[in-house]
C-alpha cells in the first residue's frame, strides 16, 4: 500500500483510534453471544502472519447483513449467466422475480436466431396446492411447456426453500424429462437455507456444471494457446475487456465461466490447456475438479488493476513458455500502458493519500485493492461478504479448516481421472516441469497478506459496524453493494457498488482500469456533499449585511 505523504485528515496519526480501538468500539454494543461471534470475524491485520478469521460461519440472526442465500449464489451468480440455457426456478414467484435481470451479466448472442434466456424469468409459481400435495407434477409440466414454447438446447432447474422441505425430487423430474425430450435437463438443489451464504450456492452450482455440462463435447479447438477464465462474470463487460487483451496477445479463450458464456463453450472447455481463476471463492471447486479429471492445471490471476493484469498476462505467457508469446505479451503491455500511464498519473495527483474501505463479495474486496493502490490510495479496512478462510489467509490454510455442519451438507463430488482424456495435451506434464522452476499452481495467497499492517479486516460486516467505521474513519470512498450504498452516502461518503459497478464499467484490464481511476476521481472529488448546508446557516453577520438588497440603480 502507498505510504506517500497525505493531506487527508484521517490519515494523520493520533486523530483516529487504532484498529484495535475501532474494533472494540464496533463490538461494544453487542449482546454477549453476538459479540463472541463477531469478535472472531474482526481482526487487526498482520500481513506477515495472518490471524485465523471466523469466516464462512453463520450470520447472527437479527444482524443487518450484506449476505444473501444459496439460491442467489447458484442461480443468480454461477449458472444464471449462461445465456442459452433456459432457466426455471421451482418455487413461489419471488426468487425467480428477484433474480431476473438484476445482476449485470452482459451477454451477446453468438448467432442470429438464438435466444438470450437471461431476458426471461421463468418459474413454476408454486401455489398452496403444490405445497400441500407436492410440486413435481407442476415442475414436469412447466418443463414441457418451456420446451414447447422455446425449444432450448438445455433446461436448468433451481430449487427454492419450500422445495426441499416438501420433498420434491427435482433431479428425478429432470432425468425423466431429459429422457422424454431428448435435451439436456438438470437440477440444482440450491434451497436458500443451505449453507450460510451465497457461497454454498456457488459450490452446488460448480458441482452441477461439472456433472452435467463439462466434457460433453470433445471437438478440438483451433489455436496455439487455449485457456479458460474461471470465475469471471462479465459485470459491466469485464470479460470482454479481458477477451480483447488476450486476443491481442494471441491467446484463445474457450470458455469464461460464466460471464457472457454459452452452453456450447462450457461443454467444450475441457479442451483447454490451462484454467486461470479470477474469483477464487466462487469457482475454485471447478478448477480443482477439472484438474483431477482432465489434468488441466490452474492458477490464480487478477485482471483488476494494472499490476495484477500485467502479472497475470506474464504468468500465462510463462506457462506456455513460448518466446513468441512472451514477447507479444510485453508488446501488448507496453502499448496499453502508454494509454493508462497519463491517466493514472493525472488522477493520482488528486487521489494520492486518500482512503478507501471495501466490503464486498468473495474476491472483489481483495482484487480492487490493487486499483486503489495504483491511485496511491490506502485501504484502511476490508472484508468479504461470503468468503472462506482461504480467501483471507491463503490456500495453505485449507488443511486446517474445520468442517462444520453447514458445510458438510453441501455435496463434495468424488472426481476421478478420466483415463481417455487426462493429460490429452500434455498439460499435467507441463505442470510437473514448471513446478520444479518454482512456478506456483493451485495458489491463492489471500487478502490479508496484501493488506497493510494494523488495518481492520471485517468478515460479513454488519450495518452497525459499517456505521461505526464511517464515524471513526470517514473514508474517502467505500466499495460495497446496493443495500449499503445509500446508507453510506447519506453519511456523506461516496459508495462505489462493486457488485454492479453502479451500472458503469468495465473495470477489468487496461481500459477498465482507466474507467475506474476516472470514476473514483469523480467520486472522491465530488462537490455534491458541500451543497448540504444552505448558505444562510453558517453565514457570518458581515456576509449577511453584504448580501442585503441594494437599490438597483444606486
Amino acid at each position: 500500500m502507498s505510504d506517500e505523504a497525505t493531506d487527508s485528515p484521517q490519515a494523520h496519526e493520533g486523530l483516529v483510534p487504532s484498529a484495535a480501538e475501532a474494533r472494540e468500539q464496533m463490538l461494544e454494543i453487542y449482546p454477549k453471544k453476538t459479540r463472541r461471534k463477531r469478535e472472531k470475524q474482526m481482526l487487526v491485520n498482520d500481513p506477515g502472519s495472518p490471524g485465523e478469521i471466523g469466516a464462512n460461519s453463520r450470520t447472527v440472526p437479527g444482524i443487518i447483513t450484506q449476505r444473501g442465500c444459496s439460491y442467489a449464489g447458484c442461480k443468480g451468480v454461477v449458472i444464471g449467466p449462461i445465456y442459452d440455457i433456459l432457466h426455471i426456478t421451482h418455487g413461489p414467484i419471488g426468487c425467480g422475480w428477484y433474480s431476473w435481470l438484476s445482476r449485470r451479466n452482459m451477454t451477446r448472442i453468438r448467432k442470429a436466431g438464438e435466444t438470450n434466456f437471461l431476458q426471461y424469468s421463468m418459474s413454476t409459481d408454486m401455489q398452496e396446492e403444490q405445497i400441500v400435495f407436492g410440486g413435481e407434477k407442476k415442475l414436469a409440466l412447466a418443463i414441457q411447456e418451456a420446451y414447447d414454447e422455446f425449444h432450448p438446447k438445455a433446461i436448468s432447474i433451481y430449487a427454492t426453500c419450500p422445495v426441499g422441505l416438501i420433498g420434491d425430487d427435482i433431479h428425478k423430474v429432470c432425468r425423466e424429462m431429459k429422457q422424454k425430450l431428448g435435451i439436456n435437463i438438470f437440477g440444482f438443489s440450491c434451497e436458500g437455507y443451505k449453507g450460510v451464504s451465497q457461497s454454498a450456492g456457488h459450490h452446488i452450482a460448480n458441482n452441477g456444471v461439472f456433472k452435467h455440462m463439462i466434457g460433453l463435447d470433445d471437438t478440438p479447438v483451433e489455436g496455439k494457446y487455449k485457456i479458460n477464465i474461471l470465475g469471471e462474470y462479465n459485470i459491466g463487460g469485464d470479460a470482454w475487456e479481458i477477451d480483447r487483451i488476450l486476443a491481442l496477445c494471441g491467446i484463445k479463450i474457450i470458455g469464461t465461466l460464466s460471464g457472457g458464456v454459452s452452453y456450447d463453450d462450457i461443454t467444450n472447455c475441457h479442451m483447454a490447456d490451462l484454467n486461470v481463476v479470477m474469483c477464487h471463492r466462487s469457482i475454485n471447486y471447478m478448477a480443482e475438479m477439472m484438474e483431477k479429471k482432465f489434468g488441466i492445471p490452474w492458477f490464480k490471476v487478477n485482471f483488476i488493476g494494472i499490476n495484477g493484469t500485467k502479472k497475470s498476462l506474464r504468468k500465462i505467457a510463462k506457462y506456455f513458455g513460448d518466446k513468441e508469446l512472451i514477447d507479444r505479451v510485453e508488446e501488448v503491455i507496453a502499448k496499453e500502458m502508454s494509454e493508462v500511464r497519463p491517466v493514472v498519473e493525472d488522477v493520482k495527483t488528486r487521489t494520492s493519500g486518500k482512503t478507501a474501505a471495501l466490503f464486498v463479495g468473495g474476491s472483489r474486496a481483495h482484487h480492487y485493492q490493487d486499483l486503489f493502490e495504483d491511485m496511491g490510495m490506502k485501504v484502511i479496512s476490508a472484508g468479504y461478504e461470503f468468503a472462506h478462510r482461504d480467501d483471507y489467509e491463503g490456500r495453505d490454510v485449507l488443511p486446517h479448516i474445520k468442517m462444520d455442519a453447514d458445510t458438510r451438507n453441501i455435496e463434495e463430488l468424488e472426481v476421478e481421472q478420466d483415463p481417455a482424456r487426462f493429460n490429452l495435451r500434455g498439460t499435467a506434464d507441463r505442470k510437473a516441469a514448471l513446478q520444479s522452476e518454482e512456478f506456483s499452481f493451485s495458489d491463492y495467497e489471500g487478502m490479508m497478506r496484501q493488506m497493510g499492517k494494523d488495518t481492520l479486516v471485517i468478515d460479513d460486516i454488519s450495518h452497525h459496524e459499517m456505521e461505526k467505521l464511517i464515524e471513526i474513519y470517514k473514508p474517502d470512498v467505500i466499495g460495497s453493494g446496493i443495500k449499503d450504498k445509500y446508507i453510506i452516502e447519506k453519511m456523506g461518503v461516496p459508495c462505489k457498488q462493486l457488485h454492479s459497478y453502479d451500472y458503469g464499467g468495465p473495470y477489468a484490464g487496461f481500459k477498465g482500469a482507466i474507467n475506474f481511476y476516472k470514476e473514483i476521481d469523480r467520486m472522491t472529488s465530488t462537490k455534491v456533499w458541500k451543497y448540504i448546508h444552505a448558505p444562510w446557516h453558517d453565514a457570518a453577520p458581515a456576509a449577511e449585511a453584504a448580501a442585503a438588497p441594494e437599490p438597483v440603480n444606486a
Binding site: R58, T65, W97, M122, L141, Y193
Partner: protein, 458 residues
C-alpha cells in the same frame, strides 16, 4: 430482444414466464416501513431479506433497513424459534426500533412456525422487555402476491395496535394503498387543502424519500406513528383507497373498533380523484376549496389541449390490480382504448372490473388476472398497440416490438428517478401522467419520423 417470444399463444398451466407480480413478504416490508420507528423483520432465509432490501433500494434509491432470522438448514428442520428470539434480542439491543414487524416467508410457513407463540415465549423468558413492541403478519409467498403482503401487514398492524377509547374523534383515516412516497405526500397535501383532520396509514413519505442532511437516520422522521395507529380506532371514518391493498385493513378496523369505511379506487385520473375529493368533502362536511377546484380545472384544460393525441390510441397496460384498474379508468376518460390489461396477482374481480370500465370505449378489452408479461407480449404481437404502460420490465417488451412508446408506471421502476419525486395521484398527478404519455408519443415521432414530418409545434 426477447427473441424467443413468438406470436403463437399457448395456454400454460404450470410455467410462469416474465411475471407481473412478486411475493408477499416484500409488500409487508414496504408497508412496515410506513410505520414510524419500525424495523421490518423477515422470518426465513436471509436471501429473502437481501432480495427485498435490494429491490426496494433499487426502486427508491434510498436506504432500506430490515432484519432477518437467517435460517440455516438446522433451523429449517427444528423450527425458527431460537433464531427469532436471538434476532429480537439483537435488534432491540443494537438497532433500537420502536417496534419490530415480523413477517413470515415460504420457508417459515412451510415448517409451521407459530410466531405469536415465539413472541410470547420470548416475552415470558425476558428476552424482550415489556416496552419492546413486536407484531407479526403471515405472508406465505405461495399465496397472493406482493400486494396482498402489503395488505396483510396493514391489517395486522391494526389488529395489534388500533384501539377504540369509546370517544369518537373528528378525524378521518386515509389508507393510501400501495403507492409511492410522493403519492402519499400528495394525498396529505390534498387532505390539508380540504381542511380535514386525518391520519394517513401507512405513510412511507419521509421514510423512503428523505433528503440529504449528511446524517443517516435508521428511522427517519416519516411514517405513521404508533400513537396515530392506536388513535385510528377513534376516528369516525376510514377512506380506504385501492381495494386490494387497503380493504383488509379497513375491514379489520371496522370489526375491531367500529370505524365505518368507504372503499375507493386509487385516486388516479379524473373521476377517481373526484371520488376521493368528494369522499373527503362528505366525511369532513367541508366545502371543496377553490384551490382544489382550480387544480381540477387545470387538469381538464390539459386533457382538452392534448385530446387529439390520445383519441382512440390503443394501450396495453400491466401491473398491480389497484393501479391498473384506476389508470385504465383514466385512459378511458381521455378517450384512449385500453385493449389489454394484465396483472400477475390472482383474483377474478380484476377482470370483471376492467371489462366494466372499458364496456363503452373498448368492449373487446382482453383482461387477465394471474397472468404474465410474456402473455401480454405475445398478445401485442398479434394486436399491435400504440402505447405500453407498465413497470420497468416493460422496456424489454417495448424494445422488442420496435420501441413502442412506453410509459413507466407501477412497481418496480429501477431505471428512472421520476416516480420517487413526482406523484401520479390526484389532479396534478393526472397532469403528470398526461405529460408522460404525450411525451412518449412525441419522442417516438421525433425519433422515427423523416425530416419533412418533424414539427416544431405540437
Amino acid at each position: 430482444m426477447l427473441d424467443g417470444t413468438t406470436a403463437e399463444i399457448r395456454e400454460r398451466q404450470a410455467l410462469r414466464i416474465n411475471p407481473a407480480k412478486t411475493c408477499q413478504p416484500i409488500g409487508a416490508m414496504y408497508a412496515a416501513l410506513g410505520i414510524n420507528g419500525c424495523m421490518p423483520h423477515s422470518h426465513g432465509s436471509q436471501g429473502c431479506c437481501a432480495y427485498h432490501r435490494s429491490h426496494l433500494t433499487r426502486h427508491y434509491k434510498e436506504p432500506v433497513a430490515a432484519t432477518t432470522s437467517s435460517f440455516t438448514e438446522g433451523a429449517s428442520v427444528f423450527g425458527g424459534l431460537a433464531n427469532l428470539q436471538q434476532a429480537l434480542e439483537n435488534i432491540f439491543t443494537i438497532y433500537k426500533p420502536k417496534i419490530v414487524a415480523v413477517h413470515t416467508t415460504c420457508l417459515s410457513e412451510v415448517i409451521g412456525d407459530d410466531i405469536p407463540m415465539i413472541i410470547e415465549r420470548a416475552r415470558r423468558e425476558g428476552k424482550i422487555k415489556p416496552d419492546q413492541l413486536v407484531m407479526h403478519t403471515n405472508t406465505p409467498s405461495f399465496v397472493g402476491s406482493h400486494v396482498t403482503g402489503f395488505s396483510n401487514q396493514c391489517a395486522s398492524t391494526i389488529k395489534y395496535f388500533s384501539e377504540s377509547s369509546g370517544e369518537t374523534k373528528n378525524v378521518v383515516n386515509l389508507f393510501p394503498g400501495w403507492v409511492e412516497p410522493a403519492d402519499m405526500r400528495e394525498i396529505k397535501r390534498m387532505a390539508k387543502e380540504m381542511g380535514i383532520e386525518f391520519i394517513l396509514f401507512p405513510d412511507t413519505s419521509g421514510v423512503l424519500d428523505t433528503g440529504h442532511t449528511g446524517h443517516y437516520e435508521m428511522y427517519p422522521a416519516g411514517g405513521t406513528t404508533l400513537e396515530q395507529i392506536k388513535a385510528m380506532g377513534d376516528s369516525f371514518q376510514t377512506i380506504a383507497m385501492g381495494p386490494l391493498a387497503s380493504k383488509a385493513a379497513a375491514e379489520e378496523l371496522e370489526k375491531k373498533c367500529n370505524v365505518p369505511s368507504r372503499l375507493l379506487e386509487l385516486p388516479i385520473g379524473l373521476s377517481n380523484t373526484d371520488a376521493f375529493v368528494n369522499a373527503m368533502r362528505l366525511a369532513g362536511q367541508v366545502p371543496v376549496p377553490a384551490s382544489i377546484e382550480e387544480e381540477r380545472s387545470r387538469l381538464i384544460d390539459m386533457m382538452s389541449d392534448m385530446a387529439q393525441y390520445m383519441h382512440d390510441k390503443k394501450v396495453a397496460i400491466f401491473g398491480d390490480p389497484d393501479q391498473v384498474t384506476a389508470l385504465t379508468q383514466f385512459l378511458v376518460e381521455m378517450d384512449m382504448k385500453p385493449v389489454i390489461a394484465v396483472t400477475g396477482t390472482p383474483g377474478k374481480a380484476f377482470e370483471a372490473k376492467i371489462k366494466e370500465i372499458c364496456a363503452e370505449k373498448c368492449p373487446e378489452v382482453e383482461a387477465r388476472a394471474y397472468s404474465d408479461v410474456h402473455f401480454l407480449h405475445q398478445w401485442i404481437k398479434n394486436n399491435p398497440v400504440d402505447l405500453l404502460i407498465g413497470n420497468g420490465f416493460g422496456k424489454f417488451v417495448a424494445k422488442a416490438e420496435g420501441n413502442i412508446p412506453f410509459v413507466r408506471f407501477g412497481f418496480p421502476i429501477m431505471d428512472r428517478v421520476g416516480h420517487r419525486a413526482f406523484s401520479t395521484i390526484g389532479y396534478t398527478g393526472a397532469m403528470r401522467l398526461i405529460e408522460q404519455i404525450t411525451n412518449a408519443f412525441f419522442d417516438y415521432r421525433d425519433r422515427n419520423d423523416p425530416d419533412e414530418k418533424i414539427e416544431l409545434v405540437l
